[in-house]
Symmetry: C2
Amino acid sequence: MEKQEDLIDFLENKQNYIPHLSIDCVVFGFHNNELKVLLLKIKNIDTWVLPGGFVGMSEGIDQAAFRILKERTGLENIYLEQFYTFGQENRSKENTLGNLLGIDQYEAYKKSWISKRFVSIGYYALVDFSKVNPTVDDLTEKYAWFELKQLPCLAFDHKDIIEKALATLRLNLDRKLVGFNLLPETFTMPELQSLYETILDVSLRRNNFQRKILNMDILERIEKLYTGAANKAPYLYKFKPASQPKFDE
Amino acid sequence: MEKQEDLIDFLENKQNYIPHLSIDCVVFGFHNNELKVLLLKIKNIDTWVLPGGFVGMSEGIDQAAFRILKERTGLENIYLEQFYTFGQENRSKENTLGNLLGIDQYEAYKKSWISKRFVSIGYYALVDFSKVNPTVDDLTEKYAWFELKQLPCLAFDHKDIIEKALATLRLNLDRKLVGFNLLPETFTMPELQSLYETILDVSLRRNNFQRKILNMDILERIEKLYTGAANKAPYLYKFKPASQPKFDE
């Protein structure tokens, strides 16, 4: 999108998308007690964005979120969960794409589909960042995993979107970890505690953590195999299957 | 909307709304150990809907939700919380408004704004249904509070929307009750337990409930006033102020 003609081509291609509606993906990465977020740098300007895009006229929003994440970062087979829809009137008024790209004075831009107000549906994921390999797309110069306390200059309201995604992730973390499949099938209590500590950004006392998590009744303890001398090995746990509430049965 | 001309007028008035985007409100009502949901009956047909509407071009989505609830039911000053956005491609394909109203063969309808696919943002509220007085609007014949186990014939995917709202309400009920302001400022433990039992649709053991809720550290116990003989009165509690997580301080 370095030239106006490229931009116009880009806009022409959007006719089959629902106007005024976008999707933004917050991909959290966890590894070795670090929690990061995946961001893309827009070409030629010092501004970063979440991987985002639009919803096809005949495409479900979940389906659109998976496609967008794949097209923009190369990531696929990742469990994305919808968490919130951002629709304040002025959420990108001060800091539009046209303004960022320095094209907001062009008539073609002012009339364009993309210069309008967008309501954005937020999705988030939690992955092991050592196990995924993002790529860049045509709009993007590079990608990077940022620590949440050291975010770069972000476009639009993307900082608010990340903050809301983090609050959602922290709420009911026990249920989330099952869905996001971040731990191996079986894990030790210290492995689980370290994940909680990193995501919640707190230190937890070992005994308290163990008692609370066992009281939640979400873990199943795997019996140790009898190997003669292996009774010093820590217990292994796995998550119990989750259940969904229903009211009309 | 009994005549085609009325429908066309109705559609003409929608030009200032964001196309393809709607809002649906799930208003739960609690009173005397009953949990119900507010539904509207469409004129002349045996189908009920949630109070819903559209988002103005220059209107935030939260603002739109409050306006819609007020226009369609007369209810105002009610705390509405966004909970999920419904955007499967075919969520109202089988059961469109035109089909329900018997006007889907008219060219004016087929070309209209309202015959298109809609992505709907869900908001929910929890009120004391003995304390609110809904009214009906031009599209609606009557309103009623329905028990969740005895829902009438619902349009579109409104049953799914109610089910998702209920699941959301049940999750972290302790935090929700503060926001929805359903209990008086101070309340007894049995009053709180009865609210939980009704919303979760379960029976809870008194001692277990009390221990769990006190462990959550969300309640503050009010000291009894010394009145000489009043020590048989139950303790009164109030909710502690809620705190929001932040990551960049």
